[in-house]
């Protein structure tokens, strides 16, 4: 049966290729050998870039770093990079060429040298019944084995699950399970949000309830209505004071402007009255003090004048006589009793000194009496002023009570200076009780508002509760669906795995990497709500299973990776590609595994064009011999990349000749 095959790949200014190099791919086995860095992987990348238009694995490698250079364009030759691919089916020939850079490239296509209008569609169709996206997916999933990618898939059970799902057409099953998980998570998040809202509403509701209770307690909801209270209040007023006809009965009386003005006037009058009363008392005291002070002042002044006149002369005479005193009189010369005279003179001198002191005291008394007199006169003046102010206050009150919007009506006898103090007290007390009454009215209004708010909040809480209950039920259903979907996907995938196991064994058994863990399986696991496939190897004699990631060597793990990759690729059904590209599949393998791989390739080449790269020369020679054509119509090409310069790799191409095999055995007679 005819099969689509790749015929050549031409690279220019692409990755490790500078000058144009055309690589012949028109064989059923193409071996590309080269040392590390010789350009093998550039060839594989060229094929991926041409078909997919990107090299995601390279972009991922520098993810998070500042972009400094184009990963596609050759550093020595510069943009644009160019890759051309030949594809053949019998005598039909297609050519596809992509030029550009990693971020922007253009694809062109020719069929039997005729340019095609829709190159991407033509490319997809050239390999089967693919869309562009399907072709890209197929190439990345089972068309090209990049050892690191497959190993990474092994290490991440989710990635292996994804690969397997694609191969057996179960993407939609796992997508549904993922969508069910998302729906469940979204609902759970919504439930958390609603719970928080309900919690806030309940808190507000409880707070409003507490406010209402307090307001009700303060306001005393059982008391009489406001008007009645106002009347009760007015009834306590003394005779001659009453509510005016305009004020009585008004619910707003308590907060009327008139009440405020009255209160202000009353406070003013009360202040004036208190000041007048104080000044009056002070003035009365002062009147007595003035009389006493005036008498005292006169007496003090007289006394002071007398002592001031006498005292200094007596003192001077007594002092001089004492100095001249002897037993004879200094004036007449007669003998005198000196001691008696001295005593007398000393008494006179002492008396004079006492008189001088009395004079000082008298003068001080005069000054004090004068001060008291001044104070008394000032008090009298203050009394006169306060009296005038009181009269003014009384007049203002009188005017107020005559006003049409006056709150109170007051008889004239209350409006005398003598009564105004009492009137003011009455008004102040009345105003105080009026304020209290007003406060209660305000509280009562607030209570009504609180009650409405509490009711509205209760309704909101009820609504939130109902919404939450409904959402809880939806969450439960979503969680049940999520669990059931994953469980169903698990069973479906499990069955697929059992069917796929022989395909894994096809590869694994031929390469036999381990002496005791000789069977390769794949185990389904759901980890953190995600379906995963865990690699597993099995010792059938001891019946022990193990994860090869933990017990196998690097080379043995490469066999595991190759087994899964090829096992899946060989089962790709309608999504299968006509070629398989294996980039250095035998690295780190031992000779037995490589021999097994060679035998495997002989079988795989029957249905797929094989493109193999490797760096080990010994194994390349071995594969070259093992895969040399033995039948007509087969072709094995070996490209040896035997050096690399800035212009690109040096490529030496050879081709194994068809070997003639002479049969040694005779077919048994049937």
């Amino acid at each position: 049966m005819s099969q689509v095959r790749l015929t050549f790949l031409e690279l220019q200014a692409f990755r490790g290729f500078g000058e144009t190099r055309r690589i012949d791919l028109d064989g059923d086995v193409v071996l590309i050998r080269g040392d590390n860095g010789s350009g093998k992987t550039s060839i594989v990348d060229g094929l991926i870039w041409l078909i997919c238009g990107e090299l995601a694995h390279l972009t991922d490698r520098v993810k998070g770093l500042r972009r400094t250079e184009d990963p596609v364009v050759n550093r020595y030759f510069g943009a644009p990079a160019r890759v051309r691919l030949g594809v053949a089916l019998d005598s039909d020939l297609w050519e596809f060429e992509r030029t550009g850079t990693a971020s922007k490239s253009v694809l062109a296509a020719w069929h039997n040298r005729q340019t095609l209008d829709q190159p991407t569609v033509a490319l997809a169709r050239a390999f089967g019944d693919f869309t562009e996206e399907q072709l890209s997916n197929a190439l990345r999933t089972w068309g090209v084995l990049r050892q690191d990618a497959v190993r990474a898939a092994l290490e991440s059970g989710g990635a292996l699950h994804e690969r397997l799902s694609r191969v057996v057409g179960l993407e939609r099953v796992t997508l549904f399970a993922s969508a069910a998980t998302k729906a469940s998570k979204d609902l759970a998040a919504e439930r958390t949000r609603l719970r928080r809202i309900r919690q806030q509403l309940v808190a507000r509701y409880e707070e409003a309830q507490a406010h209402l209770a307090l307001a009700q307690q303060t306001e005393g909801m059982a008391g009489p209505p406001l008007v009645e209270r106002l009347s009760q209040l007015a009834s306590t007023l003394p005779v001659g004071i009453r509510l005016s006809s305009s004020g009585a009965g008004s619910r707003s009386v308590a907060e009327s402007e008139s009440a405020s003005r009255l209160l202000a006037l009353a406070e003013d009058a009360a202040g004036a009255f208190r000041a007048h009363r104080t000044s009056l008392e002070a003035a009365q005291d002062a009147t007595t003090a003035v009389t006493e002070a005036r008498a005292e002042l006169r007496s003090a002044q007289r006394r002071a004048e007398a002592v001031t006149r006498q005292a200094p002369l007596s003192a001077q005479l007594a002092s001089a006589a004492l100095e001249l005193l002897s037993d004879h009189c200094p004036v007449c010369g007669q003998p005198v009793d000196e001691s008696s005279v001295r005593v007398h003179l000393q008494e006179l001198l002492a008396e004079a000194k006492a008189t001088a002191a009395g004079t000082e005291q008298a003068l001080a008394n005069v000054a004090r009496a004068q001060a008291r007199l001044g104070e008394a006169q000032a008090a009298e003046q203050r009394r006169a002023e306060s009296s005038a102010r009181l009269t003014d206050a009384v007049e203002r009150l009188r005017s107020h009570f005559k006003a049409p919007d006056a709150l109170l009506a007051v008889d004239d006898e209350w409006l005398s200076p003598a009564q105004v103090g009492t009137l003011a007290e009455v008004i102040e007390e009345f105003a105080e009780r009026l304020r209290e009454l007003n406060m209660r009215r305000v509280r009562s209004t607030g209570t009504v508002r609180s009650r409405t708010e509490v009711e509205e909040l209760r309704q909101e809480v009820d609504r939130a509760e109902r919404d939450l209950q409904e959402l809880e039920a939806r969450c439960e259903r979503a969680a049940a669906l999520d669990r059931a979907a994953h469980s169903a996907a698990e069973r479906i995938i499990e069955r697929a795995l059992r069917r796929l196991e022989p395909s894994f064994a096809e590869v694994f058994d031929r390469m036999a990497p381990h002496p005791t863990f000789t069977q390769l399986r794949a185990r389904q696991d759901i980890f953190y709500g995600r379906n995963q496939i865990v690699p597993e190897v099995y010792d059938p004699e001891r019946r022990i299973a193990a994860n090869p990631m933990l017990i196998y060597s690097e080379g043995q793990l490469n066999v595991v990776a190759l087994s899964y990759f090829l096992g899946l690729a060989l089962n790709a059904r309608e999504g299968a590609l006509p070629f398989l590209v294996l980039d250095d599949p035998i690295q780190a393998m031992d000779i037995l595994s490589v021999l097994g791989f060679a035998d495997l390739c002989r079988r795989v080449r029957e249905d797929h064009q094989l493109l193999l790269t490797m760096h080990d020369r010994r194994f390349a020679d071995l594969l070259s011999r093992k895969l040399a054509p033995r039948e007509e119509g087969t072709r094995t090409i070996l490209h040896e990349l035997d050096g690399w310069t800035r212009e690109g790799p040096r490529i030496r191409t050879s081709e194994s000749e068809l070997a003639e095999i002479i049969p040694l055995l005779k077919p048994a007679a049937s």
């Binding site: 057996v168 549904f176 469980s487 395909s503 058994d509 095999i661 055995l665």
Partner: protein
């Protein structure tokens, strides 16, 4: 537990013949053998017991196979295989090591040592000869519409009525899974 049914050389012959080999019963260095060939391989199958002269007997058999291939020189001389069916299993680590050493020696002939193949164990002979057999056909999946399969599975789960059906319908319409 059923008794073992150990594979005979005729069973090897049948399996290889079915796989497209030209098969002949013969002998290798005096040991009864099945010989089989394709353009890619010349195969000899012999039976043996674990014994002290096992290595020597296998060496003789591989020499005989090499001589047979040399009768018509070709690149196929690189593709000689000897399948040794051990009728008794190795009993100790020493015997295990001996078996491993035989397989590891790839000079002249690639050797596969297989231990007491029990035909009651389904596919055991195919497994033993796998490296020499063609690839088996790909697995078959009856998945015309995977969501139908999923729907059948979900019906078996005790979910509320219509929940799964509505969710699947929404998903089929390209919407997200909606749970009402």
């Amino acid at each position: 537990m059923s008794a073992k049914r150990i594979a005979q050389l005729d069973d090897f012959s049948s399996t290889l013949s079915a796989a497209g080999y030209v098969v002949e019963r013969g002998e290798l260095a005096g040991q009864a053998a099945v010989l089989a060939e394709t353009p890619y391989a010349l195969v000899g199958c012999v039976e043996a017991d674990i014994s002290s002269d096992l290595v020597e007997r296998i060496s003789d058999a591989q020499a005989a196979l090499t001589h047979l291939a040399a009768r018509a020189p070709s690149p196929r001389q690189w593709d000689l295989y000897l399948v040794i069916h051990l009728l008794s299993a190795p009993q100790d680590p020493e015997e295990e090591a001996m078996v491993e050493a035989i397989e590891a020696d790839t000079h002249y002939v690639r050797k596969f040592v297989r231990r007491t193949i029990d035909l009651e164990d389904e596919g055991s002979l195919d497994r033993a000869l796998r490296p020499l057999l063609p690839l088996r056909p790909a697995a078959e999946f009856d998945l015309a519409d995977p969501l139908d399969v999923l729907g059948r599975e979900l019906r078996e789960a005790s979910l509320p009525e219509d929940l799964a059906a509505r969710a699947l319908d929404a998903f089929r319409r390209g919407e997200e899974v909606a749970v009402t």
